[in-house]
Amino acid sequence: MSNFKILAAALPFAVMATGAMAADETIAVFTKNQTNPYFQTVRVGADAAAKSMGAKVVHYIPTKPDSIPEQLSQIEDVIVKKPSAIVFVPVDYKAMVPGVEQINDAKIPVVNVTDRSAGGKFLAFVGADDYSLGLETARYLLKEMGGKGNVVILEGVKGSLTNVDRVRGFNDALKEFKDVKLLASQPANYQRLQGLQVMENLMQSHPQIDGILAANDAMAVGAIEALDGANRKAKVVGINGTKEAVDAIKANKLLATGDYNGFLQGCIGTMAAIRALRNETIVTEVVLKPTVVNASNYQPYDRPLESRACPSWSEVEAISTKTN
């Protein structure tokens, strides 16, 4: 693969940076919005990593959630400031490619986190495998249902990378369980209210729903509220492993959530960026293995984000899929 070359290209800059101004390495962290808790976990992870390694983090978030033009502008603005390195979550994995190329042109090392960009050169990619996450979470639900019954899927934002893969994972799991019937697959755009309302409407046309596969936790929790409101029961799973989902698992409302682990992604992405600046070895691809958080294993997740610590680099190397 070309990973090695990318690293080689980035290294001279990294050496220079560490040599000249090791004291003030500034990492610019780009996330999609200020509203989705997932990205907050990424940001906290980045902060934790930078703090432990003695670097500074500056966050750039579009003022309008998921705004492509705004993230492009922010990239242009940040290039003027020449941060030491960038940790980058693209608001859209295709439409942000020109932005990544601008970063590359400015010779600022950049690590891609969460959504794998469709183009541009990165030091490393850190993310979770949405497909296997969807597959494993769905398998867990379907097993818990005893391999039979009716399910519905609540999809996220159409066309977003995470949604495509997660829903594909759901559907592939469904193929393994012939006795489970998929009643409907409707978008609720990753939003709580829409998850709730779509669910309410689906319950009208489907008197028996046994399982709900939601492509994120907010929709899953919305669906649970809808079930509660109608006094109906169904097993619900979500994805992301947010605090709220863990609470819901604790309260026996939610069956499980696939852990997307934004905290870890933020940690590892930032650590990789800083290590590259310091001319230390890094891994070029970390794809977190899917973990299904459920009533039996939620305890490690039931802690405030701020009190969590980033893993050591050897731990990272252990879970990484590719190293240099």
Binding site: L193, L196, E200, V221, K243, E244
Partner: protein, 324 residues
């Protein structure tokens, strides 16, 4: 179409005020919509689904009813959605901190109301056009909310509080009672109080209203405060219903709320419209959504359908009034 021809034929002898006629046409339109939906799918005409539609309409209605009064005076309040966000987050914080849903509810209402008063002061005293004043307010509120929430959500409220959003009484959802309550209260306020009459008079001709001795500034502030307070009410019901507060909770509702008011027959020039009309407007919008969900129509069509309905409703109104 048949509605329009009725308009020309049925006008003369029995004297129905124009407002009354417009409301009857809207009821007919909503009725036709129901008829069409019940023919199209069995799932529609069930008591559950009707209650479901009403409960979904209630959220939109809370917001739209306050907005109706603002629009009656010839103004506009673009900040209602952002208002819900901040009010809900502050209310959630208070509930979490004190454990008292009552204090939380009061906080939500007070926040909404204060924001409304600020809007009213800008419009009445600083004479900033309401469109711009409330648009600026929208940004300010978003900023405060994002800053305050820092990407987190606040979730998990006492069951008693959640009854407001998801509870039932005699088999009917609590929000539906609240909606009926505010529908009656709003109608009484607009139609049966001196202030309500003065609000109509201000919208119909602000110059004449001033020269008739109506204290315009105070009434305008009242109206914006009311709109803000209704956003506060909506925020509480949202909170109770979703069991969670997040920054962008009401964002997607501003334009639909305005659309509901316009479909309900209010004129942006002021002086025309009614809370009951807005109720039907909210109902029609919700029915369309519900129908599309029940019929599994691609959600992509939804904005287009809404847009066409808005234009058609307003055009029909103008056509009817011009004939009279």
């Amino acid at each position: 179409m048949s509605i329009a021809s009725n308009a020309s034929a049925g006008a003369p002898r029995i004297h129905l005020s124009q407002d009354m006629q417009q409301i009857i046409y809207r009821l007919l339109a909503a009725g036709l919509l129901c008829l069409a939906l019940s023919l199209a799918t069995d799932a529609f005409l069930t008591s559950n689904n009707i209650l479901n539609v009403l409960r979904q309409a209630s959220l939109l209605f809370f917001l739209a009813s306050g907005l109706t009064l603002v629009i009656l005076t010839g103004g506009l309040d673009l900040s209602v959605g952002a208002n819900i966000g901040l009010s809900a987050c502050l209310a959630a914080t208070v509930i979490k901190a004190t454990g008292s849903p009552i204090l939380g509810t009061l906080t939500g209402l007070a926040t909404g109301c204060v924001i409304g008063i600020c809007n009213g002061l800008m419009v009445a005293k600083l004479r900033i056009p309401s469109f711009i004043a409330t648009y600026g307010m929208l940004w300010v509120l978003h900023g405060i909310t994002y800053y305050y929430m820092a990407g987190e959500t606040i979730h998990g409220f006492p069951p008693g509080f959640r009854q407001i959003g998801s509870g039932h009484f005699l088999g009917i959802p609590i929000p539906v009672y609240l909606m009926v309550g505010f529908l009656v209260a709003g109608t009484v306020f607009a139609q049966r109080t001196v202030w309500g009459q003065q609000i109509y008079a201000i919208g119909a001709n602000p110059v004449a209203a001033r020269l008739t001795g109506i204290p315009i500034d105070r009434r305008l502030i009242l109206v914006y405060a009311f709109s803000g307070a209704m956003a506060g009410v909506a925020s509480i019901v949202f909170l109770a219903r979703l069991n969670s507060a997040e920054g962008d909770i009401g964002e997607a509702l501003t334009l639909p709320a305005i659309a509901a008011v316009l479909i309900g027959g209010a004129s942006l020039f002021g002086g025309v419209g009614s809370v009951f009309g807005t109720f039907i407007g909210a109902l029609i919008l919700t029915l369309v959504l519900n129908g599309m969900n029940l019929l599994s129509v691609n959600a992509n069509w939804q904005p287009l359908v809404t847009g066409v309905i808005v234009i058609f409703a307003v055009w029909l109104d103008m056509y009817g009034r011009r004939k009279a």
